[in-house]
Each structure stands twice: as structure tokens, then as C-alpha cells.
Subunit: 323 residues, 2 copies
């Protein structure tokens, strides 16, 4: 097998800035959520937000960087533009040790996607994404051999927003299934689940082996009121559902058991951006190395704890040295 | 007076990455120094260095951001290109509260300057600068009224590298002198002083009222072997020389006295990028608010301590709340 995990996602450069809660209120932003914005909204919000730090992001791309930092072999498929931020994204993911071959879109097309991230004093992050070149990711960008050769194909729910990317996801999921590989999915965001619930339900039931979701996302998918109901509702529909609950740790739900695993200690909570992405990275690392469900969730918790102790969603420490 | 300090410098976006000492050795880089690199060298080094974080930089631009964060009125003159990184630079310095009006160079010309910064485990930073659009800063970019209206015009030694910028500096220094304003200069880098020593000496003796230098820079300017000799050699040649010595604090040299001021405590040393820039910001804040030499140097030390406790050379904390 040439690689442990191949990820497919929206290739995004994050622009992180500190903001007060009042800024979110004034701009009608929902704390903790991801909102899609058009280029005009992106320009307006950017002008009004504070000085930023640019760091490569993108949910599954962050997970792939985390997997490589843990010592796994990871590859990534995602669309940037042939512009400066596209070069930044491509450099960073390759420098992290991830194989990244997707052809960039033309510089004359939409710019590389940006996510304007406002980090409030409680370390919560609020995402505002201009999808840019991501809308050009399509089935032609899916390398069948790379999918066939990967133990796990990992998809992000956010890919449901750009229409062509949805086709790309389904193509990849079908190739993986045919080759007897596993398909993993992150639900990404409760509002994203709301926008596409029926399709998400079909995807999960028909294609997904490993499902990642946080509490609000799994409640939204299953349309239930409590975490316990959601854990019951998802049981048996996928091989394993990994449900994350921030400081309450995670619950790993398989056909037979629901196992709670505590969160890892965090020295200083700075910015929760990427917590879910790095949890998934840690879990998939353990999964592909056959370390067992419990240890996989523990590694997820350790990777998540590293990422929330600093600004940005790519690991600063070599994660393999932390586990 | 419409502003406390107007700064003129190379407008640069920093690309910060962690690196081992062996990486510096392999690439023949001099730790702690600033090296100028051409676009080809920049591409090669960028490809080989690790995943980065992009943060607006530029020595005097960092100082201006620090001044604004301290509550001073600051303006900045520097040249970016009309490209994505130029937009990032312009956004960040304006969002920091600094007045920035310089017309960007055309997108068809050289790209916005980048400084590839390698931060070694000892938190030392090694700078590799591609000047890009900075070479297009010239006398026409100097706004005479803005210089006349500012209490202090602050220049960076790095401006000696792009030839047109040197003319711009001299134009600004002459306007400031004619208006009875003060001229401040940072020597920037010992190798930069080496490259242009004779011209630096003339500039200091003919135009500079407030001089900032670290230990190696002042030794290079004065061509002496010890710090004490350098402090004596510079005494009386400028109104005040502010000599910084990292963890040993600073020495403020005026015509009559040489006063040592201790460094401020640092909780965690992460990245020394911007230490000198923020020290200058703190000192110039105190100077323009007439707080006296000792208090000005103390504020410089506090601002420098904040900047070296995190990645990047722009303050994360509101500096006015720290003093």
C-alpha cells in the first residue's frame, strides 16, 4: 500500500485574527460555526478585522499534515489557484511531508480559498470561508490509483458545498469501496450538515466506514436532542463513529460498544482552530497502524491538545514525539 | 503635530519556519544575520524550508505597529506590490492602527518582498530577504507634509540596500531637519552596516538624532572591539544612542551619561524576530510622550519581551495594557 491515508478537501489558507465577541455580534457571525462568504463579503470582513496571521489550513489538509507529523504516509487532493496563496498552501503541505499533486487552477480564475478566522478571548474560532478555487475541484482531480493504493480515503463534509467537489467525493468513495479500502468522513460543521442532511445520510449509510463528528454535528445528522440518543442512532450504521466532545473527551462507537476516552490535558488554551482535524489525524494514525480503538482515540486527544495550545491548525511540535 | 512617529522602511511579509542548526549549516546561512537573496535563491530556499506562517514584517513597520499598539500615532511609508501579499501587508499595518498611504507597485513588477525567517531551537532568527517591490520605493513616495507633521521620522538601515530607497531616506531626513523634527535610525544589521559603513557614518553624523543599534551593529559602525569602546565612540555624535544587548538590557547614551537599563522578564523565549524593532517602538513611544530616557528604555524592554514570547514580529497583546 503506497499510503496510509489520502485526504480530499477544500484547500484553504487561513487568516487568523483576534476579535472580541462584540465584533461577531456587530457582523452577525455565529460563534463556532463556518459560514460561506462571497468575494465581496470576504473583502469587507477582511477590511474590518484585525491584523492577521496567514497559515495553511483546510480541515482535511490539516489532518493530513497531522498524520505526516505523527509518522504516517499521507497524500492530499485539493484545489488552489496558481497565485501566491496557492504557492503558500502547496509549499506548506509538502513541507509537512504530505504528497500533494493536484494541478492548481489558472491564476485568471478564482483565487486560492481563504478562511477568515476570528478567535475570541475564549479561544473559540468562528470561520468565514471564501471558497475561491475550491469550486473547481472535480472528478478529474481524483487520481484512481492513489485512492486504490491508500488504506483510508478521508473526505470532509465541507466538500458538499462546492457542487463539483461532491461528484469528486463520490467518485473517490466508489473507487475506494471497489478496492476494498476504507472511507472516512468528517461531518465538518453542524450548519453544513443542516444544508445537506439528506445527502449526508445517504453518504454515511452507503459509503462511510469511519465517521468523525462533534456533538452538534452528530445531533444534526441524526436529528435527535441528546448525545446519548445520537450515539445510539449512529451505532451500527458505520464501522466506527468517533464522536468528539471538546474537554469532555470522545466516545468511540462501534457495532458492539460505545467507549468513552478522556481529553488530553492542555497547558494553555489559545485557539481551538483545527481541534477536530487533529483529533481525526491522531485517530486515523492509530487506526491505520492497527493500534486499537482506545489508543487511537487517545492519540487523537493528544494531537488535538497540541493544536489548541497555539494559533493555527497545523502542528508546531513534531507529533510523533508526543505519543 | 499630526503624528508622533512616521517610519520609512522595507515593506515585507515574513515567512517564519522552524529549522535546526544543521539546516543553516547546510545552506551556508549565518545565524542571526540578514542576507539578501534574489528570486531564484528565494524559491530554492523556500522549497527546502519547513511549513511556514506568514506574518507582516519589515523592521520599521514592526516598530510602527508597536507604537500604535502602545497608543502613539504612527504612520508608515513602504512599497509593496499590488499582489496578494501586498494586500496582506497593507491590511495588517492599517489594522494595527498605522496610517499607510504609499501607492503599491504594479502587479506586473516585482512581487511584494518576503523575508524567509528560520527560527532555530534557541529562538534565534536568521533572515533571508528577497526585496522585491521594495526596490521601487523612491523619493516620490516621500510625503513632505507627513514628514513635516511628524515629531520623529524613523528610518531603517536596511533601506540602504535598495538604491532608490537611500535617496528617499535622505530626502525625508532633510525635510525633517528643515522642519525642526527629529530623525531616528536603526542600524538594522551588522552586515548591512559593513556593506555601507562610510555612508552610515555620514548619515549618523549629519542627520541622526536618535540612533538604535545592538551590540554587533554599534561595534561594526564604530569599528571597535568592545561594547564600552563603542559606547564611548558614539557618545555626543547623536542626541541619544540606544544600545540594546539582548538579555543584558540596554544602555542609553546621551551627551552626558551612559545609563544601563535592565531587560524585562520573559516568560517563554520563542522567537527573537522583532526584538530590536519593538524595543525601538517602546523607546520612541516614551520619547515622543516625554517620559524620560530611563522610562523610555524600560518601555522598550517591555515591548521587546512581549514580541520574543511568541512567533512573529507584530505584537499579539495590546502593548498599552502592559506598561
Amino acid at each position: 500500500m503506497s499510503c496510509d491515508v489520502i485526504g480530499i478537501g477544500n484547500a484553504i489558507v487561513d487568516v487568523l485574527a483576534q476579535a472580541e465577541d462584540s465584533f461577531l455580534d456587530e457582523h452577525g457571525l455565529t460563534k463556532g460555526a463556518m459560514a460561506l462568504i462571497n468575494p465581496v463579503q470576504a473583502d469587507t470582513l477582511y477590511q474590518q478585522m484585525g491584523a492577521g496571521v496567514e497559515v495553511s489550513g483546510g480541515s482535511v489538509a490539516n489532518s493530513c499534515a497531522g498524520l505526516a507529523s505523527l509518522g504516517a504516509k499521507a497524500a492530499y487532493i485539493g484545489k488552489v489557484s496558481a497565485d501566491q496563496l496557492g504557492e503558500v498552501f502547496a509549499h506548506d503541505i509538502r513541507a509537512a511531508g504530505v504528497d500533494f499533486q493536484t494541478t492548481p487552477g489558472p491564476a485568471s480564475g478564482p483565487a486560492t480559498a481563504r478562511c477568515l478566522i476570528l478567535v475570541t478571548p475564549d479561544a473559540q474560532r468562528t470561520l468565514n470561508t471564501y471558497l475561491g478555487a475550491c469550486v473547481e475541484l472535480g472528478p478529474d482531480d481524483i487520481d484512481s490509483k492513489a485512492i486504490t493504493d491508500a488504506q483510508v480515503t478521508y473526505l470532509e463534509g465541507y466538500l458538499w458545498d462546492p457542487p463539483l467537489a461532491k461528484e469528486a467525493m463520490l467518485k473517490a468513495a466508489n473507487i475506494a469501496a471497489k478496492a476494498g479500502r476504507k472511507v472516512a468522513l468528517s461531518l465538518s460543521d453542524a450548519f453544513c450538515v443542516d444544508r445537506h442532511r439528506a445527502e449526508f445520510v445517504s453518504l454515511v449509510d452507503d459509503h462511510v466506514d469511519i465517521l468523525f463528528a462533534n456533538e452538534t454535528e452528530i445531533l444534526s445528522l441524526c436529528e435527535v436532542e441528546s448525545f446519548d440518543e445520537a450515539a445510539k442512532a449512529i451505532q451500527g450504521r458505520v464501522d466506527v463513529a468517533v464522536l468528539t466532545r471538546s474537554e469532555k473527551g470522545s466516545v468511540v462507537v462501534t457495532k458492539d460498544v460505545a467507549m468513552a476516552v478522556p481529553a488530553a490535558p492542555v497547558s494553555k488554551l489559545v485557539d481551538t482552530t483545527g481541534a477536530g482535524d487533529l483529533f481525526a489525524a491522531g485517530f486515523l494514525y492509530g487506526y491505520t497502524q492497527s493500534l486499537g480503538m482506545k489508543r487511537s482515540a487517545e492519540i487523537g486527544a493528544i494531537a488535538a491538545a497540541e493544536i489548541i495550545s497555539h494559533f493555527g491548525a497545523r502542528p508546531e511540535a513534531k507529533l510523533s514525539s508526543l505519543i
